[in-house]
Symmetry: C2
Subunit: 342 residues, 2 copies
DNA sequence: TCTGGCACTCGCTGAGCGTGAGTGCCAAGC
DNA sequence: GCTTGGCACTCACGCTCAGCGAGTGCCAGA
């Protein structure tokens, strides 16, 4: 009844405001939407919505603008699942199927997401917690420095440069390589770390120190810490589209994009499980980003720990469209990872 | 004499304009610089400089602004080598010495450059033309898909996902791995490509197809094509500092930053050898970037093909400072790569 | 509960005006 | 032959102010 119409009015306000970027008035509203009532009625509803804090008037003789609370209600109760168009589906499949490796999947996903949503896209590199060690390679760069390369069953590769502090002969290195691989190959990360931890005690004392250095580097590479910290960002050029409020919106976001740790926090806190989550304006932890929203979700092969991906944009954004795009890309990427992981 | 003073006036104009971002007038000029002449004289010089096209007047009754030609003269004849401060040197060494691998060196360099110059920094990943193959790893993901991982002597790692089109047994894969490594390990890229090319003819016919797929992927990974196309970008937040002329300067640059191919062209054309090169405004190939300049240089271990790094910013930028920073970072990175390469 | 009418608010726009930084030119001086 | 002080001139910028119009709140009647 009345309550329903009020929600319809709110929805109409959000939609119009997102489309026009201008405060929307009662008259324009009835013209553009078939609400079946007069502007006066809409005005009453607007007054009520404003009392409840869903919309806000920039100044007396202006139209209304949704508040964060208004967007929240819109997102929670007023948006259905917006299906992707055929062209969009095609874009997703063709672009992502061409990926040659894991990094490429991530890079392409970022590009895809930013193009679909015309927002800034952020994709976290998948964590590797459940994967197993495929191979460890030790490459001698100088007599005292070794590059440790860890290859995982997912195809993910981690590298570490190790300064041994002492010279190592080629045979020693070969022996060490064999031992490390015997201990770690085929094992899950966690198990491999344990097995490797025992290695220094098993070798002849002279090489114990060197072994320890290598094992430490491997352990570090395996702790997904640094992996967690890696994100790909794309579509920053889309920021150009909201050229107004440059200082309040664009600048802080541009700064945040440089700080990958901040981005991860942004993505991480917005996400729970594999549902698409939306965080609107001030709901986030950063006051400087109070006029930006985050739409994010977890993704990953079914049996693996989640990574997250999503988009960041102005609170005045196309939530249904962004949510649909984020969901679709996450699903498709998950499927690719699932295949790759068998 | 007169000519000398005119150049001094040009230098003063450039310096003041870079500092204040405002057209500079004759009076302000004599106040801030000890030119030893009166404003009237400076005005005469300015008129001459304007006739020659080195400076320009936005409108009558305004001060003068350097033209691209003026900046060019400034860069070519009026800037000495500006030494880095002790603090800056320290920043370079401490930040770069902490790098764990090649990718990390690049990432840190970008960060460093953008912080030193307060501009957008771009670093191309080093090419690998002269390096040798250290190891090739084949990881079976599904019965018909294999991840090919190429490890080079520089520590660089390339991955390719290969769809074999047919199933491959574990023993077959192990055999193939051995053969590939026997053919390629220790060889230079070019030689390895040749040796690998012969492989499909040497194996039993049943595995020839599969072998060919793998070899093709390796050859692709070794051609430095995709490597060349990789760049790291940082400091986009610095764009926020020139909030004026958002549309003419910030937006096109932001868009260019997304297009790594464009960036490479930008860097590449600006660079020749290991000298720091400056390209100013319209001198570049992109008309949209006519109000930005590029300061770039080649870098890399002495015996290797060059990669490039540099900064991009408004034509109104601190050229001496940027050139010094670019030169210093390039040198230090080259040294690190030299060590790593022994 | 909805609607039409009406008075009111107030940001936006554009015109008009004063101010001052900066110029170009000229005649006198070193 | 440069350099300099003086002087008239130009013109962007900032300010004020009035008119416009979109939009509102309220009220009385359907």
């Amino acid at each position: 009844m009345v309550e329903d119409r009020r929600l319809a009015v709110l929805r109409a306000i959000v939609e119009d405001y997102v489309a026009t970027e201008e405060p929307v008035g009662s008259k324009a509203l009835v013209e553009r939407h078939s609400l079946g009532v007069s502007p006066a009625t809409v005005r009453n509803d607007m007054a009520a919505l404003e009392d409840e804090g869903f919309i806000h008037q920039p100044h007396t003789s202006a139209g209304r603008v949704p508040t964060d609370k208004g967007y929240r209600l819109f997102v929670d109760r007023l948006t259905g699942v917006k299906p992707m168009s055929a062209a969009e589906r095609r874009a997703i499949t063709t672009l992502l199927d061409g990926a040659v490796d894991l990094d490429d999947v991530v890079r392409r996903s970022v590009r895809l997401l930013s193009q679909l949503t015309r927002q800034v896209a952020i994709v976290q590199y998948p964590t590797l917690s459940r994967s197993t060690v495929r191979h460890v390679e030790l490459v001698s760069l100088t007599p005292t420095r070794v590059m440790v390369i860890l290859i995982l069953s997912t195809g993910r590769v981690e590298q570490r440069l190790v300064d041994l502090g002492a010279e190592i002969a080629d045979e020693q290195l070969a022996d060490l390589r064999t031992r490390v691989n015997q201990a770690a190959a085929g094992e899950r990360i966690a198990d491999a770390t344990v097995a490797l931890g025992r290695l220094p005690d098993e070798v002849v004392p002279e090489t114990a120190v060197i072994t320890r250095e290598v094992v430490t580097a491997l352990a570090e590479a395996m702790s997904d810490h640094r992996n967690d910290a890696r994100v790909a960002v794309g579509g920053a050029a889309n920021l150009a589209r909201f050229g107004d409020n440059f200082d309040t919106a664009v600048r802080p976001l541009l700064e945040a994009l440089e700080e990958h740790v901040v981005l991860l926090k942004l993505l991480g806190e917005a996400t729970s499980g594999d549902a698409v989550t939306v965080r609107i304006g001030h709901e986030g932890p950063y006051s400087e980003l109070s006029s930006t929203s985050v739409v994010a979700t977890g993704y990953g092969p079914a049996d693996q720990a989640f990574a997250t991906l999503g988009v960041v944009g102005p609170t005045r954004m196309d939530y249904p469209g962004s949510m649909a795009a984020v969901r679709a890309v996450a699903r498709y990427v998950s499927r690719i990872l699932d295949e790759g992981h068998q």
